[in-house]
């Protein structure tokens, strides 16, 4: 009897914890399971404000319930004549000053964090140029895809953002056509990608949280930007610093397009070079292109930002992008037969960046040369 009660208690606890965990959403995209410093601070501020507000809600509801229960006409009788009270200065001072006090308490961390999280001075070096010591990503949001440029390393990729863990990643955001908003809920709040100018902020991805989320976080567009706004997702791959450096070096090592290995893919490459290369680069250079950079397309986890990564989906996508992402800019830009599309798809699936091909040492040296050149 006792045992059964014990086990029931445990099951109850597990169910409760499961419900609680699911109540916080998925760890790769929920604001309630922050994955780094910025998200953590915002989460604390949320919890702090919720605690204060729950206090308010509970006391109002208690007061209100008493008021309603004690003043029912059915209880007091039809003839009861309420006493008219004009007001009460003491009460009014109390319920004016307590909210003011609560708001001051909430205002302190708010103002502190506004200035702390708005501080992006680390992006610049002493001369006001780009700080080459920091991880900086230039993000351009386009209808309906994302371009990520690493200015210090001169690498461009799209749709899948790769970041190092356990250090600040600075972002420069801008909108390529209309206004979008860059949001990685697990890592921290959003910032708009205006068409008028560049917005900057930073995020941090903890290595432990990254590991829990299989190193993939979800990013979303948070500002209505047209028919396919809902599908303008991206992925964030958070790698330990060495792996991140290696990835950058590998990307940097790609100087010419990967060569196709099969006949189909080779034909596909030719078709691609005739019909697609005007918009899509296949080497990780050339920021500001019309379409997403495809240099490491074969390594990615999603097609068009939201479809499962396999050749079948890729073929369907190229055949009729409009049916997947209405309003996208790729529809009707090319005229390919089904057979040609199959070949292009098999070529694209081969666009992988060889792991370990790049030299990490040169990656670290390169930017300095660059800045010297810039100085000259």
């Amino acid at each position: 009897m006792k045992n059964r009660w014990m086990s029931a208690k445990w099951i109850g606890l597990i169910v409760f914890l499961a419900a609680f965990a699911s109540g916080c959403g998925k760890n790769h995209l929920s604001t309630l399971r922050p994955a780094g410093e910025v998200g953590q601070e915002q989460f604390y501020l949320m919890v702090f404000s919720i605690a204060i507000m729950l206090l308010v809600v509970v006391s109002v509801i208690i007061l209100f319930s008493f008021a309603v229960l004690k003043s029912r006409r059915s209880k007091l009788g039809e003839d009861y004549k309420p006493k008219d009270v004009a007001g009460n200065h003491v009460y009014e001072v109390i319920w004016t000053s307590i909210p003011i006090l609560l708001i001051i308490i909430l205002a302190v961390p708010t103002v502190y964090l506004v200035f702390k999280q708005g501080d992006v001075r680390g992006m610049e070096n002493e001369d006001g140029g780009i700080n080459t010591e920091e991880t900086i990503v230039n993000v351009t949001a386009n209808q309906y895809w994302w371009e990520f440029e690493y200015p210090n390393e001169e690498v461009v990729t799209s749709q899948e953002l790769v970041v190092p863990t356990d250090r600040r990643v600075y972002f420069n955001l801008k909108g390529g056509d209309v206004k979008h908003s860059f949001w990685v809920p697990a890592a921290g709040g959003k910032l708009d990608t205006n068409v008028d100018g560049i917005n900057s902020f930073y995020l941090v991805f903890d290595d432990d949280s990254a590991e829990e989320s299989n190193r993939l976080f979800y990013g979303k567009c948070a500002e209505l930007c047209g028919p396919s706004h809902a599908l303008m997702d991206f992925k964030v791959k958070a790698l330990p610093e060495e792996e991140y450096d290696q990835w950058l070096a590998d990307m940097k090592a790609v100087e010419e397009p990967a060569q196709a290995s099969t006949d189909d893919a080779a034909e596909g490459q030719e078709i691609f070079n005739n019909s697609c290369i005007g918009c899509h680069a296949v080497t990780p250079q050339g920021a500001g292109a019309v379409g997403p950079n495809l240099a490491n397309f074969g390594d990615r986890d999603l097609i068009a930002g939201f479809l499962e990564h396999n050749e079948e989906n890729l073929v369907d996508w190229i055949k009729d992008p409009e049916s997947f992402k209405p309003g996208n800019k790729m529809t009707d830009q090319y005229d390919l037969s089904d057979e040609e599309i199959d070949k292009v798809a098999s070529y694209l699936m081969e666009l992988k960046v060889e792991e370990g091909s790049g030299d990490v040492e040169s990656l670290r040296e390169k930017p300095e040369e660059d800045s010297e050149e810039g100085g000259n």
């Binding site: 915002q42 949320m46 309603v68 009460y91 961390p109 506004v114 200035f115 908003s181 708009d192 706004h229």
Partner: protein, 638 residues
């Protein structure tokens, strides 16, 4: 009047309403048109919830979904909530302050017709090439990018209804300042009148920025200017500022009159005067004042910089204080009263906890760094539905039941009213409570679908079930209205039995001239005082004599119709013109559009000239007629 209306044919009733300058009939026009648009906006809401019920749904396409959300927001704010509030303002305010009509009856009529025709104009976009699709906020980069005439329908249509709203706002300010009966000092005005006054002042100051923003948008889209075109030196953030300098006070324009309705309802059905009246008045004014200083909290993520964000964060939090004062005063009004659970009172009681919940999430969003997470997520959708449905729509439903006898001299069924109440309030919380969590789990707003496997499925299904309950509630409400109108069981003076302010001292149906003699107001809750002291007879402030009333006129309708026609002209005139932005210049040219524009403006100008040159001196209601009415009423009472 109802009896004389019955003798008339259908056509002459329509004519009567098209020409009327009587605030009571204009209130009915606002109620019918606003109710129609409310149902329309509700249908759009249902389409949204059906689309989002399951992941990867293809019930609506991405483009159509954006049109539906844009029209849902635009319709509910501009064409349903505001006009319905105007309905109750028109129905009550002149009666509450002891006036025979508003200050400018002709403008009152012009306001309602501009609203109705502007509303029809926007909605005709559905049939004329597609509705606007850039959200009700219509942010400039996207609205400039939007192909076709959808955004133009939005901009021109809002310009027409906006003019109507501005005119009505000016009218109410003037009426309340100038037309109060003797003894009706500012600090004796019922809260409904006070909130109408403050909301009208807000309209006068808040609508011009919107008008300017819309004009700039129209110029950009149709006439080749570049206020918002970045490549030619424009700036899109300016639109956001202009929109929210209007948009935030707009929220208070909506909620303050709802606060007014609730204040009346709480006091009436607790049989107790409003607690802390002067604090209530002061907090109303303060909310209106603060309302203009917080607009940038809608723009925390735009990148205005930490200093701007910090200032607007503090200002935003400060608004909670006067709002909190109101909540506590309402609770203390109920405290120690004698509560009768009528349908309006039930909405009032449901409003307090609901609005507090919407209010505290508002303060939470004031904490800017946390708002970086909330912004443009479903958390925001949940928040503003808690304040706008939980505050404004509950207020409108309370007002509908409470003021129905004043407007139609019949009573809505309490039984059906309570069924609506339970379904609507329960459905509302089921729909929107869960959406807070959706937002925190990372679901952005304005998405036409969401992928499977993100943990959003169950919550969205729950939300849709709640929306269905709200829809059923509205259907029951419509049935209630139809039954009540069909039965037409007339009620007499002070139908709730506990009326306190001046409007309930009048016989029902209210005579077209309102007061046979302008009453003398001897204190707050004027009618209550006389019920206690004088058997419910108001003391007259003037002797029985002839008095002046304005004539009916068709001119307001004609003026509005002219602008409606000119609107189409302006819109199609730009099609295919090379100076317009590409979205508009790609369309075929319409040579007739210029003529439409000229004819429309000529009609409006003609009507205005007629109005200016032709003296309309109104007419006198004679002493004999008033006496006859008074006698008839006395016979009826016996």
């Amino acid at each position: 009047m109802a009896t004389t209306a019955k003798k008339k044919g259908f056509g002459s009733v329509i004519w009567e309403y098209m020409t009327t300058v009587d605030h009571k009939k204009i209130a009915i026009l606002y109620l019918i048109a606003g109710g129609f648009f409310f149902v329309l906006g509700g249908i759009e809401a249902m389409l949204i919830r059906i689309q989002l019920a399951v992941p990867n749904n293809d019930f609506l396409s991405g483009g159509l979904f954006n049109e539906v959300i844009t029209m849902h927001g635009t319709t509910m704010i501009f064409l349903a909530a505001m006009p319905l509030l105007f309905a109750f303002m028109n129905a009550t305010v002149p009666l509450q302050i002891g006036a025979r009509d508003v200050a400018f009856p002709f403008l009152n009529s012009l306001g309602v017709w501009l609203f109705i025709l502007g509303g029809i104009f926007i909605n005709l976009s559905w049939f004329l090439g597609g509705a606007p699709d850039a959200g009700w906020t219509s942010y400039a980069s996207l609205s400039i990018d939007s192909p076709g005439h959808g955004i133009d329908f939005y901009a021109v249509g809002l310009q027409i209804t906006g003019a109507g709203t501005l005119i009505s706002g000016i009218n109410f300010v003037t009426t309340i300042i100038n037309m109060r009966a003797p003894g009706m000092t500012y600090m004796r005005m019922p809260l409904m009148t006070w909130t109408t006054l403050v909301a009208s002042v807000l309209i006068v100051f808040a609508f011009p920025p919107l008008t300017i923003g819309l004009f700039l948008l129209i110029f950009d889209r149709m006439f080749g200017s570049s206020f918002f075109l970045v490549e030619t030196g424009g700036n899109t953030i300016i639109w956001e500022h202009l929109f929210w300098i209007f948009g935030h006070p707009e929220v208070y324009i909506l909620i303050l009159p709802a606060f007014g309705i609730f204040s009346e309802v709480f006091s009436t059905f607790s049989r107790k005067r409003l607690f802390g009246y002067s604090a209530m008045v002061f907090s109303t004014v303060l909310i209106g004042f603060f309302g203009f200083m917080v607009w940038a909290h809608h723009m925390f993520t735009v990148g205005l910089g930490p200093t701007a964000n910090a200032i607007f964060a503090l200002a935003t939090m400060a608004i909670a204080v006067p709002t909190g004062v109101k909540i506590f005063n309402w609770i203390l009004t109920i405290w120690g009263g004698s509560i009768e659970f009528t349908t309006p009172m039930l909405y009032g009681l449901a409003f307090i906890p609901t609005f507090v919940m919407g209010g505290v999430t508002g303060v939470m969003q004031g904490a800017a760094p946390a708002d970086y997470q909330y912004h443009d997520s479903y958390f925001i959708v949940a928040h503003f539905h808690y304040v706008i449905v939980g505050g404004v729509v509950f207020g409108l439903l309370a007002g509908l039941h409470y003021y129905w006898p004043l407007m139609f001299s019949t009573m809505l069924s309490e039984k059906l009213g309570k069924i609506t109440f339970v379904l609507f309030v329960a459905g509302f919380h089921i729909t929107f409570l869960i959406q807070h969590f959706l937002g925190l789990w990372g679901m952005p707003r304005r998405v036409f679908t969401y992928l499977d496997g993100q943990g959003y499925n169950t919550a969205n299904m729950i939300s849709t079930i709640g929306a269905v309950m709200m829809a059923i509630a509205v259907v029951v409400l419509v049935i209630n209205i139809i039954i009540t109108v069909a039965k037409n069981k007339q009620v007499g003076r002070d139908p709730w039995g506990d009326g306190r302010s001046l409007e309930w001292s009048l016989p029902l149906p209210v005579p077209y001239y309102n007061f046979a003699q302008i009453p003398l107001v001897r204190g707050m809750d004027a009618f209550w005082i006389e019920k206690e002291a004088n058997d419910g007879k108001m003391m007259p402030a003037e002797s029985l004599d002839d008095f002046h009333m304005p004539n009916n006129s068709i001119l307001p309708f004609i003026m509005s119709l002219g602008l409606f026609i000119a609107g189409f002209g302006a819109l199609y005139f730009a099609s295919g013109k090379e100076w317009a932005i590409s979205a508009v210049s790609d369309m075929p040219q319409h040579p007739w559009a210029l003529w439409l524009l000229i004819i429309g403006l000529a009609i409006t100008a003609g009507a205005m000239i007629t109005r200016s040159l032709k003296d309309d001196l109104g007419y006198y209601v004679t002493k004999e007629e008033v006496l006859r009415d008074l006698e008839e009423e006395e016979r009826g009472a016996k």
